[in-house]
Each structure stands twice: as structure tokens, then as C-alpha cells.
């Protein structure tokens, strides 16, 4: 039973106009899938569909267990009177019926999750007062508390300081070793080589498979088009960073 499966999946925002087509892949528990796509290539659309926010226009998908979202841009209200701990605790909201208070076990789980991300000292600080990297780690803590089987991380390293990046990478590896499935949207082609699978998108699926087979020059060219810069010596591919605040759609 795959953790995440998509079959002929198509999705979009205006009826009859899919912005993403022909998505077909399966990811197993314990795998981390790098999702490579240029801006406007459909990765956010894919994530929104897997989260249930968008209804597929064609095809089907299945997720075995809960899905957690670690979004790229902080669309959260930074002015809300919530601490990092409060945010992590939100991961337990789904399993707490409305008539019950949050369980003590869940509170402990939230503290643990923050600790894994190195945020134990910041637990009582207001979420909006944290740095970008710290907020990202708090959101990951929320996903951990959710005990999600599948995590969708949209460019978790964008705009994040070095220390946070190391921390986040370590946590992601831990989560994968726990049997969870991670889909990590990234622009870092080199980084994606360390993971189990790569999914290349550019308004449709270009390729899916192990990094060695997928990260070939032709595939990358089809994925990134003009954005790709290839250095011949050593054999590396880079993409131009686009810090586009608007994101897709």
C-alpha cells in the first residue's frame, strides 16, 4: 500500500483549464521525494490537491493516513496571540473532539516536537516574533504532532538561515526513518540527489524515479527550460533562484 499515489492526475483553478496534467507516481513509507519544478510549474497546485484543497479535474490520487502541510510562504497571521507551543499544539486539534481539552500527552508531544527542531527555548515566544527559519521549524513541529504519515513541504529551505537549514535537514531525515513519506518541493537540484525519488514537473509530469535515472540533462532541460544553468566541470546542475512572493495562481 503506497503512502501517496497519483494516477493521471490533473488539477487547476479555472474550469477546463488544468495547470497540471498527467501526474502519475507512487511513494512508499520512508521515502523522501524531491519535487522539482519551475515557478508556475504546478508543484503548489499538486500539493493543494493532495491536501484536499483543490478538487482534481481528472484522474485520482490516494493518501494512506493523514497529510500535513508545511507551506512555503507564511500565510499565517503573524499578529495572532499564539506561541510556538500553541502552533505545535494545533497538530493535535484534529484528533481532539470539541468537548475535550487537549490531552496532556499531546502537550508533551508538542514540546518534544519543538525540541526536535531545536525550539525548546522558544516554546513560550509569540510565533510572529520568531525568525523565518524558526517559524518553519515550528510548522514542522506542528506536522510532527499531527503524527502525519505524509508531509508536504513546499521549499522548506527558502529564505532560511544556515543553522535552521541543517536542523531541518536532520529532522526530515529522522521523520523519513520513522516510516513517514515526505514530498519536498525544492529548487536545489544537488540537494535532491540525497533522497529516494525525484518528481519533475513542468505543467505536466516530466519524470519520476530514482535520482540517478531522473536527474539527467534532458529531463532537467525539459523541467526547467531556460532557467537551467549547467556547469560542465564538475557535473552539476543549478537552477536560478526565484524569490517570487506571489507564488502560483
Amino acid at each position: 500500500m503506497s503512502a501517496v499515489r497519483a494516477e493521471h492526475l490533473a488539477a487547476g483553478y479555472r474550469p477546463g483549464e488544468p495547470v497540471l496534467r498527467d501526474v502519475e507516481f507512487a511513494a512508499e513509507p520512508g521515502q523522501t521525494v524531491a519535487v522539482l519544478a519551475p515557478n508556475g510549474g504546478g508543484k503548489t497546485t499538486l500539493f493543494r490537491t493532495l491536501l484536499g484543497e483543490l478538487t482534481p479535474m481528472a484522474g485520482d490520487f490516494a493518501v494512506d493516513g493523514t497529510v500535513a502541510s508545511v507551506p512555503q510562504h507564511d500565510h499565517a497571521r503573524l499578529d495572532f496571540p499564539v506561541t510556538a507551543l500553541d502552533v505545535a499544539l494545533m497538530g493535535a486539534y484534529g484528533r481532539t473532539p470539541w468537548w475535550r481539552r487537549i490531552a496532556r500527552a499531546d502537550r508533551d508531544a508538542a514540546r518534544d516536537a519543538l525540541d526536535r527542531g531545536g525550539l525548546a527555548a522558544e516554546a513560550g515566544r509569540r510565533y510572529g516574533a520568531l525568525s523565518g527559519g524558526q517559524r518553519r521549524r515550528a510548522t514542522i513541529a506542528r506536522a510532527i504532532v499531527q503524527d502525519a504519515r505524509v508531509l508536504l513541504l513546499d521549499e522548506p529551505f527558502a529564505g532560511v538561515d544556515r543553522a535552521s537549514e541543517e536542523r531541518i535537514l536532520a529532522v526530515l531525515d529522522e521523520l523519513a526513518s520513522e516510516g513517514r513519506t515526505l514530498l519536498v518541493a525544492t529548487h536545489d537540484v544537488e540537494q535532491s540527489r540525497r533522497w529516494s525519488r525525484v518528481l519533475c514537473l513542468n505543467r505536466r509530469q516530466i519524470a519520476f524515479g530514482a535520482p540517478e535515472e531522473t536527474l539527467t540533462a534532458p529531463t532537467l532541460a525539459q523541467t526547467y527550460g531556460d532557467e537551467l544553468v549547467v556547469l560542465r566541470e564538475p557535473r552539476m546542475g543549478l537552477t536560478i533562484q526565484h524569490h517570487d512572493d506571489r507564488g502560483e495562481a
Binding site: 500535513a68 502541510s69 506542528r142
Partner: protein
């Protein structure tokens, strides 16, 4: 001391004080969510929209609360239709409906039912002229506010903080947010006898907005908001009693003053 105890002797003042105490609960609990979820103008407009309902209640023989709630539902439905179907921007649609409600109400009041003189009371409240029904409704809404806030507060927090993340977290934002709008509408109806159609913000927005500047967690904001609403309500009543002023506006000015002081002096939280 007589300044404080004299008013307490009059029965109408005792009722007014009870009303203020009861209304402080939804004012603080639901008002906090009104402020956090950016529903201040919706609430203010919903209050004004109940005006025609209040006007026809007497002549049509319906309880004022029912008529007001009906007018509120019409407003909400109309707003939804104008925004979704006619594609009018929400603020323009709100303006159109507000004006229609106020214009319609005043024509009904002065030309159809000739209740002209009573219009001031409908618009600014009759805190010193409450009946048992008003107090009963306030008590019920206080209980409702407590229950709703306890049961749905988490959902309202999650949906407000990060709407896109609410669904994956298992929070059914569509249903719980609709419940919040409904709770606010009911609260609006409850405060009408006290402050009138034009001043619902006095209880449901201003104390919570002031508290928001002072509190650091949702619980804190709610507690401070309840206390502020209570203090401002009592203060306004005493001023009204001694200076012969309309009580609703008196509370509004006190509340506004408290907000101004807090805004000018509160440390950034």
C-alpha cells in the same frame, strides 16, 4: 459614595446593571473573535441592518429580537448573493445593503408606522427601559457565548491563524466559521436593546479591541475584554444617570476613550 449607591436604588437601574453584566460575557468572549477574525465591520453593519426589523416588530406584533434576527438573516443572505452572484465587491455590497436597511427603516418608521419619535431609541438603545424578555435573551446569549467559545475556540483559532492549513489539520473551517458568524449575529440581536442598532460595536468590538492591545494570549484577551465591557457599561450607566445622558452613547464614548488610552500607551505585544 452616594454617587454609587443612589442609582442602585432604582429598579430600572438594577435591570440595566444586570443587563450590562450579562452582556459583558458575549462582549468579551465573542468580541475577541470578532476582532481576531477581522469581523468588526461585518458586525457593525449587521447591527445597522437590523433597524428595519426593529421598526416593524411592534406594528407586526412580533418580538423585537425575532424581527431583528430576521432582518439580520436577510442582510447576510443579501450580502452573499450580491458578492457571489452579482460580483459586487464586499465593501460596496455592504454599503448598499446598509444604506437600504437604514433608508427603508426610517421610511417604515416615520411614514408607514408613524413611530417617528421612537427611532432614536431603536438606533441608540434603551438601556434604562428594558423588559424581562431583554434580560432573558441576554442571559441565554451569555450562556451560548460561553459554550460556543469553549467548544469552537480551537477551530476558530486554527482557521484564523492559518486558513490553508486548517483542513489538513482536521479542522472543518467551513462549518465552524459559519457557526461563528451565526453566534455573532445572535450576539448582535442580544445587544440591541442596550446600545441600539448603530452602536453594537460598543459592546462587541471596542472592549475586545482594547483588550487585544493588552492581552498576550486568547484567554487573556477574552478575560480583559469581559472586564472592560463590564466596567465601561457600568461607568456609562452611572454617567447617564447622573448627567441625564442617553446611556448607549455614553458607554460608546467611554469605550472609545479607553481604547484611545490603550492604543497610545500599550507596549507592542
Amino acid at each position: 459614595m452616594a454617587w454609587l449607591t443612589d442609582p442602585l436604588g432604582a429598579e430600572f437601574m438594577q435591570r440595566a446593571l444586570l443587563e450590562v453584566a450579562l452582556l459583558a460575557v458575549p462582549a468579551g468572549l465573542l468580541g475577541t473573535w470578532v476582532v481576531l477574525r477581522r469581523l468588526a465591520f461585518f458586525t457593525h453593519a449587521a447591527g445597522s441592518a437590523t433597524f428595519p426589523g426593529l421598526v416593524v416588530a411592534g406594528p407586526w406584533g412580533i418580538p423585537a429580537q425575532v424581527a431583528a434576527f430576521g432582518a439580520g438573516l436577510l442582510y447576510a443572505g443579501g450580502l452573499s448573493a450580491l458578492v457571489r452572484r452579482a460580483r459586487i465587491a464586499p465593501d460596496a455590497a455592504t454599503g448598499l445593503l446598509l444604506v437600504a436597511a437604514l433608508a427603508g427603516g426610517t421610511i417604515l418608521a416615520s411614514d408607514v408606522y408613524e413611530a417617528g419619535a421612537g427611532v432614536d431609541r431603536l438606533l441608540f438603545g434603551t438601556l434604562l427601559g428594558l423588559d424581562d424578555a431583554d434580560l432573558a435573551v441576554s442571559g441565554a446569549v451569555a450562556a451560548l457565548a460561553l459554550a460556543a467559545s469553549a467548544a469552537l475556540g480551537r477551530a476558530w483559532l486554527a482557521a484564523g491563524f492559518d486558513p490553508a492549513a486548517a483542513r489538513p489539520l482536521g479542522v472543518r473551517a467551513g462549518a465552524t466559521d459559519s457557526a461563528l458568524l451565526l453566534a455573532v449575529a445572535v450576539a448582535v440581536v442580544a445587544v440591541l436593546p442596550a446600545v441600539g442598532a448603530l452602536l453594537v460595536g460598543t459592546l462587541l468590538v471596542v472592549p475586545a479591541a482594547t483588550a487585544r492591545l493588552l492581552g498576550r494570549s486568547v484567554r487573556e484577551v477574552q478575560l480583559v475584554a469581559v472586564l472592560l465591557a463590564l466596567a465601561e457599561g457600568v461607568g456609562g450607566l452611572l454617567l447617564a444617570y447622573h448627567l441625564d445622558l442617553p446611556p448607549g452613547p455614553a458607554v460608546a464614548v467611554l469605550a472609545g476613550g479607553a481604547f484611545a488610552v490603550a492604543a497610545a500607551t500599550a507596549v507592542r505585544r
